[in-house]
């Protein structure tokens, strides 16, 4: 028993040494990715060749799969392989970006995630080949794809918002959608529907846990921001307070169904009479069509009207969602990868094919000017919904999505749900939220003057980057 002690000491020392050496190894291991940055730009080739692997998900992936043969006819030496990675793609991609190997040649990101990945320096600088397309995309999207004036991603689709409504219900309760100009009109119509239906039909789904998309739409309409141009916290602004006041009015009017986004009731409401309208983005048309086709019985009669403005004469547009394509810096065949990205996103042929096959709404402005967007949609009673959503997309205000966006938005989400759960006490809401973001994100709060003047230039003007 006596010789136990020295042994314990020795093994303790060995473990200590192992830990220390692991620390030392990790501290000195190169994580800078300096090697990658040497070829971190695209050298376009007249005749690119080789294989291009693409990671994407869901409808977007199907859309690219559909497009690949068409692209391969224009570039016979390139073979496109679209990998529908589905769940946890973000984690996989992050791991391969961190490891420096294993990433695809082209990858999809949600627009809101792009700034965070761009900031890592692990994506190819596309400026030399993509800069000339700047004016052909809405500035609101393009700005989220750049960092310090360099371009790292290309906008793919855009999610202009409108209000999907049930024509039969509107008719039955005597509401004319053409007369809904502002959110106040919308709330009044909602009250009428609620009363005339004997409380059966609510105007919209707006659960206390799902307020953020509505808030995001509203601050795009009045030019509010979460961050200012310098990345400072600018959420405590008159615009944000105005947006919150609109939500408060909606909820206080009793016209909101308190259900979560994408919950069973939310989807069931697509065909029954519990909900009259869904104010949301253009891609929701696909969800409606897809969901109700499986429902038994009579189908609801759908239509669309433009997003109500906050004040008369205000903006009728906002954007929710949208994706981008990027080329990871470790891609070895950047010329071929760029050829595919350019064809898919920066040509009418590529974008319109995806619009026709999978209803991906083009972010490429020239595509929106084509007559394809004027085709009536039989599902919406022959309405020209494409044109309706394409109207004024260049006027959509730009949200400054910094790398901290995702986290900031979660705090916004949390505080909005707490606000709704706690009886909608708006006093000090944004002061506290700004403080919380300041503490959590370690970012400064913008001076009140900056926050107050954040935006609305006269409605109709595209909102541009302020001089720095």
């Amino acid at each position: 028993m006596n010789n136990r002690k020295p042994n314990g000491l020795v093994s303790g020392l060995i473990i200590g040494c192992v830990i220390a050496s692991v620390f030392w190894l990790l501290r000195t291991s190169p994580h800078s990715g300096a090697a990658e940055s040497q070829t971190n730009f695209v050298v376009p080739a007249a005749h690119p060749e080789g294989k291009v692997t693409v990671w994407s998900w869901n409808i977007a992936a199907k859309s690219l799969q559909h497009l690949a043969p068409q692209f391969e006819r224009t570039q016979p030496a390139v073979k496109v392989d679209v990998d529908m990675t589905g769940a946890r793609m973000q984690t996989r991609l992050m791991l391969s970006l961190a490891a420096g190997v294993g990433a695809p040649d082209v990858s999809q990101f949600e627009l809101t995630d792009a700034p965070r990945y761009i900031a890592t320096g692990k994506l190819t600088d596309l400026t030399s080949v993509a800069e000339r397309y700047r004016s052909r995309f809405p500035a609101s999207l393009w700005d989220n794809c750049t960092r310090n004036g360099r371009v790292y991603a290309i906008p793919w689709d855009i999610g202009p918002c409108g209000v999907f409504y049930k024509r039969d219900l509107f008719q039955r309760y005597g509401i004319d959608p053409a007369k809904i100009e502002t959110w106040d009109d919308y709330i009044a119509a909602g009250k009428t529907i609620f009363q005339r239906s004997g409380g059966r039909t609510k105007m919209l789904p707006l659960g206390s846990n799902s307020l953020r998309p509505m808030f995001e739409m509203l601050i795009q309409q009045n030019g509010g921001q979460v961050f200012d141009d310098q990345g400072r916290i600018a959420i405590n602004s008159p615009q944000a307070r105005q947006a919150l006041a609109v939500i408060q009015k909606m909820r206080a009017a009793g016209i909101c169904s308190d259900i979560a986004l994408w919950s069973q009731e939310f989807l069931a409401g697509l065909n029954d009479e519990s909900i009259a309208t869904y104010p949301i983005a253009v891609w929701f048309a696909g969800t409606i069509k897809d969901t109700v086709k499986d429902f038994a019985g009579k189908k609801a009669d759908w239509g669309v009207f433009r997003l109500p403005a906050i004040t008369p004469g205000g903006l009728h547009v906002a954007n929710l969602g949208g994706s981008v394509l990027v080329i990871p810096a470790q891609c070895r065949n950047k010329a071929a990868a760029w050829a595919f990205v350019e064809y898919a996103l920066c040509t009418n042929a590529g974008q319109l094919e995806q619009y026709k096959s999978m209803s991906l709404f083009p972010a490429y402005l020239p595509a929106l000017e084509t007559p394809v967007l004027d085709e009536p949609d039989p599902f919406f009673g022959g309405q020209k919904t494409g044109r309706l959503f394409a109207t004024d997309v260049t006027k959509i205000s730009r949200l400054n999505r910094t790398p901290a966006w995702g986290e900031a938005i979660r705090y916004l989400d949390q505080e909005l749900s707490r606000w709704a759960a706690g009886g909608m006490q708006s006093d000090g809401f944004f002061e506290n939220l700004a403080l919380k973001m300041h503490r959590r994100l370690d970012l400064p709060i913008a001076p009140p003057a900056v926050a107050a003047n954040l935006a609305p230039q006269s409605p109709g003007e595209p909102i541009r980057r302020r001089p720095q």
Binding site: I19, V22, R116, I259, R410, Q414, R418, A420, A421, R439
Partner: protein, 312 residues
């Protein structure tokens, strides 16, 4: 080659013994290799990560104790710890009592179809969470939920009770109750199986002797079953408390931690800061700290148990 030399020191003897049995070591080596790669390395790596700032992609930045210091005024972490304790207190006692009652019933001699009941009670903990999420979402829904429908019907029948629909998932207090109900439903069966094993481990002689002495059912429960089940209760309680700290899917699917952060527990908070915010350094630091507290807490509990058992 030189002739084998007789080992002189204990160390040399150990080495030669190991070499002689090298095949056996080879056979047990896969476990140790796997453990080194998937157990030990992550353990040490995350300890290292506790001292750095790292988003998973760019260069790590050594920050020393800064992560630990920022934990001190992390209000969401504090909230998450409080929530974890509250949710634990809400569900552990009723769950253990229920599990004990069910186990007692299943242990009864007269019961038929015992295996069927056992399987039925156990089913919730092997049901995929995605399915549970849909069903419980419908049960707890404020407007169309089954529970609120029942409440409204009850109110119609018995108006003097003044029953109101409950905002299960949209109220900061009720969200914890909703999570607790889901957890009780899901894990009672599992604990029941453990309790059943405990009950079956009590020798029948004790009961027979007690009956000979004229003890009634209540006395047998009070003086035999409960004292002898104490270790099982302790074990189940400890497991459940640990489970509450790292519970994830139940909360994620039901409330996502909301409204606000009212149902965010430590597990969900760790997930958020690591896989949503990519703050791997800070997340490792929080993970390590919580694990250390849990380790110390468990040690103290065990010590106390041992002392109690020794004194019995």
């Amino acid at each position: 080659m030189s002739a084998p030399v007789l080992p002189r020191t204990p160390r040399q003897r150990l080495r030669s013994e190991m070499w002689r049995h090298r095949h056996f070591y080879l056979f047990i080596s896969p476990f140790f290799l796997l453990f080194a790669v998937f157990g030990l390395y992550p353990l040490l790596f995350s300890l290292y990560l506790s001292f750095v700032k790292w988003d998973g992609m760019t260069a790590m930045q050594w920050v020393g104790w800064a992560n630990f210091l920022s934990m001190l005024d992390d209000e969401i972490l504090r909230r998450a710890v409080e929530n974890t304790l509250l949710i634990g207190m809400l569900y552990v006692p009723p769950m253990l009592i229920l599990a004990f009652l069910f186990a007692q019933a299943l242990n009864a001699q007269w019961l038929k179809l015992r295996a069927l009941y056992r399987a039925a009670f156990f089913l919730p903990c092997v049901t995929p969470m995605a399915v549970i999420a849909v069903v419980f979402g419908l049960i707890f829904s404020a407007e169309k939920g089954v529970l609120n429908f029942v409440l409204l019907q009850l109110n119609r029948a018995l108006p003097f009770l003044h029953l109101q629909p409950i905002p299960w998932l949209t109220n900061e207090s009720w969200s914890k109750v909703a999570v607790a109900i889901l957890v009780i439903w899901r894990w009672t069966g599992y604990n029941m199986i453990l309790m059943l094993a405990g009950l079956q481990g009590i020798p029948a002689d004790y009961y027979e002797a007690a009956m000979v002495d004229g003890a009634n059912g209540f006395q047998r429960m009070r003086h035999i079953t409960l004292p002898l089940m104490r270790p099982t209760f302790r074990f189940c309680g400890l497991l459940s408390l640990l489970g509450t700290i790292y519970m994830f899917d139940e909360i994620f699917v039901l409330t996502s931690g909301g409204p606000g952060t009212s149902s965010t527990n430590v597990g969900l908070y760790l997930f958020n800061i690591s896989f949503n915010d990519f703050r791997f350094g800070y997340a490792s630091c929080v993970g390590y700290t919580i694990a250390t507290f849990v380790f110390i807490g468990t040690l103290i509990l065990q010590r106390r148990n041992r002392r109690e058992e020794g004194s019995v």
